[in-house]
């Protein structure tokens, strides 16, 4: 249509054009283009899906509109405040949902408590939230311990209660709901609940009245009444008087919506009875005949039921809040409990019993409550974890345990010995006041594994699920294996994390420094250092050699510990092979040690023999005892010979020469001498005591070729001479001197004596005042025993001065010190058949 040249595209909604406004008009004008949008194309048709008739839930969704129904809609769009009014209820609901989901499967007793305390969402007191925090849980049976039940005071109240609930509300209320239920069931699908207008109305009214009742302050006579036998403090508190102060007229009307609303819930809610019964109950217009049997079937639940009943006998109004109705407890059966004549199902009946009966009843009741409560507490978390979850957690824990303490089977073996060497050995050295050093941890892990095994053993006999336990054990085994084999990665890169997370355990605390040694530097260092060890005789290389010896020694000691048991028989090929392998390895280690000792190395000019050089270090001396244990007889003899050959070059001999002047040796040297005599001399002495005369004679002849003056003027040298001489004397005593080898010995001895004689007067340390000269007297005694009479004379002549001086000095000394000195001298005098007594 064109008017005055305007095309169709003009604003037809403008004044003067009485056409309906078409928002798509502009588009339709371009029909020619072919791609214009049609309304039918763009509209998704959602509006057609709306169910215009199903507004029944609008109240639930948008809050209580009954108050404002009469008022015009107005412009109050503050929906939030409507929601905010029930926010607490929503929160509670949320919490409860989370809370109830798991136990709903199994934990039956938990239900009444939680639901009841939730049943009054409008009471947002701390008490109604009481169950939210653990601290608010009470045992639930404190009530029974107080004396309220024993004195008569609450009894009258009890009777009043009975008249209030037992008569007025119950009887009229009972039939109506049943009927309406029946009707509701037949009319509406059980899964989906639709309220009729009357129902909604009744509900609204009840809410309004409940609000009114709440507002009126009331003396709450039942709040503490024993009639209620409260099960949970929350219930007790959340049950103020407002409920029973609702005018009785409303009871029927209120009861109607309650039951209707409850029904769907009750079918879902887990019921303690067999599932058939609730259904049967629903169809029974008069449920009285059914109820008692249910009670009889569950006598233990009586107390709980009674408590519930005590509360729900009140015409509990669906308290405002849209979420209230669905959360009403599912126990519709309550209404008929009071009818049971013989079993106490209603608290009011308690008052009709005799004193003893009541006491007995209360006692029983208390027991039941206690038991129920225990079951409740325990079963609250039933089924939270599946068996798989449990085994998973157990595996994690065990893995942690393994990582932290190591494989329990390895304790007391190599693993723990390397990790905890000092403590293990130390405590075993200390006599083992604790047999198992890391008992706490170790035992813990072990006993745990043990228990697992035992438990499965029991189960095998009793029950079926051994499979699971076996699997568990295998898993544990695998976990242990995996933890052992897994390369210890110290750092873990979790996807998305900004850095590396390093974790630690007891065994390997988090390292502060992580220094990676590169192989190249290692290789570069090694040849040069190895070269040095061979060539230079400096302190550093000596020390390195000693360390190498120690390392080999430790290896040998470790090797000794794994000595296989001797083959059981000649046919035990395996055992023989093991023994062979072991001794081959021992042989290899022995060769390592021998070459590390460098006994056969030629000394460089200007340096002592490499082996002797080792003996000038504390560490080297200390190693001697251990070295000897791992050497063959031949090797030991070689070393002894080597020591004697180099005796005049030993650090502790050359640098520890005694002089007549009272020059003190340095503390370090004194310590060295001490260690040498303790470590080396001791070892050599023990070895020497096994040697035969010909070797001893050979040693003495070698010794006499050394610089005897230097050797004899040192404590170590003198001790060495004494050792050799005394060993020969002992052999003489044992075998007798008829042996042909004695001739060789005598020759050696004569030669030796001749060479030593000039040094004899100078062997004493310091002046005569020096008390520490016993080793010299020992040497003289050893010389004297084996000496011929002529040699003895020469001996006496050589040391006569010292003898006389010492005897004279001893007289001036305190008695015990003097006696000591005389005794030392006497050692020598007696060896040549004299006594100091003769000199006095």
């Amino acid at each position: 249509m064109s008017f005055f040249g305007f095309n169709n595209g003009h604003n037809t909604a403008a004044t003067g054009f009485s056409q309906a406004h078409n928002p798509f008009q502009g588009l339709s004008g371009r029909d020619d283009d072919g791609d214009a949008l049609e309304f039918e194309d763009t509209y998704d048709g959602l509006g057609d899906q709306l169910e215009e008739t199903k507004d029944a839930y609008n109240d639930d969704t948008f809050g209580d509109t009954s108050d404002i129904a009469a008022a015009p809609v107005g412009k109050d769009f503050d929906f939030f405040s409507q929601t905010a009014k029930v926010q607490n209820a929503i929160e509670e609901e949320h919490y409860l949902f989370n809370r109830q989901q798991p136990p709903a499967r199994s934990a039956q007793p938990a239900q009444p408590v939680q639901q009841m305390s939730y049943g009054q969402p409008s009471l947002q007191s701390a008490a109604s939230y009481g169950y939210t925090s653990q601290g608010h849980y009470r045992t639930g049976y404190e009530k029974y311990s107080n004396d309220k039940y024993n004195n008569n005071e609450p009894v009258p109240e009890l009777q009043v209660d009975a008249s209030l609930w037992g008569v007025a509300p119950k009887k009229p209320a009972q039939p109506a709901p049943q009927v309406s239920q029946q009707a509701a069931q037949s009319s509406s699908a059980p899964s989906r609940k639709i309220l009729s207008l009357e129902e909604v109305e009744a509900q609204m009214k009840a809410q309004a009245q409940a609000k009114a009742a709440q507002a009126t302050p009331s003396p709450a006579p039942h709040a503490q009444g024993p009639s209620q036998i409260p099960y949970d403090p929350a219930i007790q508190f959340a049950q103020p008087a407002q409920q029973q102060f609702v005018p009785p007229v409303d009871h029927t009307r209120q009861a109607l919506p309650i039951h209707v609303l409850q029904r769907p819930q009750s079918t879902q809610a887990p019921s303690p009875q067999p599932p058939v019964q609730p259904a049967a109950h629903q169809r029974q217009p008069s449920s009285t005949s059914v109820q008692p049997t249910q009670i009889l079937q569950n006598p233990n639940r009586l107390s709980g039921d009674a408590a519930r009943m005590g509360m729900q006998q009140h015409p509990t109004p669906p308290v405002p809040g849209p979420s209230a109705p669905p959360t009403q407890p599912a126990h519709r059966q309550q209404g008929s409990f009071g009818r049971q004549p013989n079993i106490i199902t209603h608290p009011s009946q308690v008052s009709q019993l005799t004193e003893e009966q009541r006491a007995a009843y209360m006692e029983q009741e208390a027991k039941r409550a206690k038991r129920n409560h225990k079951i409740y507490l325990m079963s609250r978390d039933n089924g939270v974890m599946t068996p798989q979850d449990k085994s998973f957690v157990t595996r994690i824990q065990l893995q942690q345990l393994v990582a932290a303490t190591g494989n329990p089977n390895e304790h007391g073996t190599d693993e723990s010995l390397t990790e905890d060497f000092y403590y293990q050995v130390h405590s075993s050295l200390q006599g083992g006041q604790r047999q198992h050093p890391n008992q706490p941890l170790n035992n813990f892990a072990q006993t745990y594994l043990f228990q697992t095994g035992n438990r499965s053993g029991h189960m095998r006999r009793h029950r079926g699920p051994e499979n699971h336990m076996q699997r568990m054990e295998q898993q544990v085994q695998r976990a242990v294996e995996a933890a052992k084999n897994k390369p210890k990665n110290k750092q873990l890169v979790i996807e998305g994390s900004l850095g590396k997370i390093s974790f630690s355990n007891a065994k390997t605390p988090k390292p502060l420094l992580n220094i990676k040694r590169t192989e190249s530097t290692d290789d570069a260092n090694r040849p040069s250092s190895a070269h040095k060890v061979v060539s230079a005789g400096d302190r550093k290389s000596d020390l390195r050699t000693i360390e190498r010896i120690y390392t080999i020694l430790m290896k040998m000691e470790d090797h000794d510990r794994v000595l296989p048991p001797p083959p059981t028989s000649d046919t035990d090929v395996e055992g023989h092979q093991r023994g062979m392998r072991w001794s081959n390895e021992a042989q290899a280690l022995n060769q390592d040690l021998w070459s590390a000792l460098r006994v056969y190395d030629e000394p460089q000019p200007g340096h002592p023999h490499p082996f002797v050089a080792l003996l000038s270090y504390n560490k080297g001396m200390k190693a001697m005892n251990r070295i000897f244990r791992h050497l063959s007889q031949e090797q030991r003899t070689t070393i002894l010979t080597l020591v004697i050959v180099n005796l005049d070059k030993l650090d502790v001999v050359v640098n520890a020469q005694v002089t007549s002047a009272a020059v003190q040796l340095t503390a370090a040297m004194r310590e060295n001498i001490h260690i040498f005599s303790n470590a080396v001399m001791n070892t050599l002495f023990n070895f020497l005591n096994e040697l035969d005369l010909d070797i001893v004679a050979g040693l003495l002849s070698i010794l006499s070729k050394q610089r005897l003056d230097i050797i004899a003027k040192s404590r170590i040298g003198a001790s060495m001479i004494t050792m050799i001489l005394s060993r020969a004397e002992i052999i003489k005593v044992n075998v007798g001197n008829t042996h042909p080898s004695w001739q060789a010995w005598d020759m050696c001895h004569t030669d030796f004596f001749d060479r030593l004689e000039p040094t004899l007067p100078y062997m004493f340390p310091g002046s005569v005042n020096t008390a520490d000269d016993i080793y010299v007297w020992q040497l003289l005694a050893a010389l004297g025993i084996g000496a011929s009479p002529e040699q003895q004379q020469r001996l006496v002549l050589a040391v006569k001065d010292r003898v006389m001086d010492t005897v004279a000095l001893s007289k001036t000394l305190p008695a015990d010190m003097g006696a000591q000195r005389l005794q030392n001298v006497n050692l020598f005098m007696r060896s040549i058949g004299l006594d100091v007594e003769l000199l006095q």
Binding site: E419, D420, F421, Y423, H426, S427, K507, P509, T551, K619
Partner: protein
């Protein structure tokens, strides 16, 4: 683990722990853990006049990281064994480093 192992052998011996804030506490070593946290019993502060607030304290738990020195009773230390333990530890470390 060497030090842990070592300190375990000193349990029930009297030691003096010197902290990084210069307080020296003498007491009987009751326990030690892998972090070298130390539990002392029957303690006595060496310079008691300077730290009077500690004079009423009978036992302490010391975090390992605040310890500067532990003075040992030398007679209860097996030096040779300790040397060997150190060698083993060093060998272990060398193996682990590779």
């Amino acid at each position: 683990m060497l030090f842990f192992s070592f300190f375990k052998t000193l349990i029930d011996h009297e030691v003096t722990v010197e902290l990084k804030n210069d307080i020296r506490i003498r007491g009987v070593l009751k326990s030690v853990d892998q972090y070298l946290n130390i539990k002392l019993d029957n303690i006595q502060v060496v310079d008691e006049l300077k730290y009077p607030h500690l004079s009423a304290v009978k036992n302490v738990f010391i975090r390992g990281s605040v310890v500067r020195y532990v003075h040992l009773p030398s007679q209860s230390v097996d030096i040779d064994l300790l040397e060997d333990a150190t060698r083993r530890e060093a060998a272990n470390q060398a193996v682990k480093a590779k």
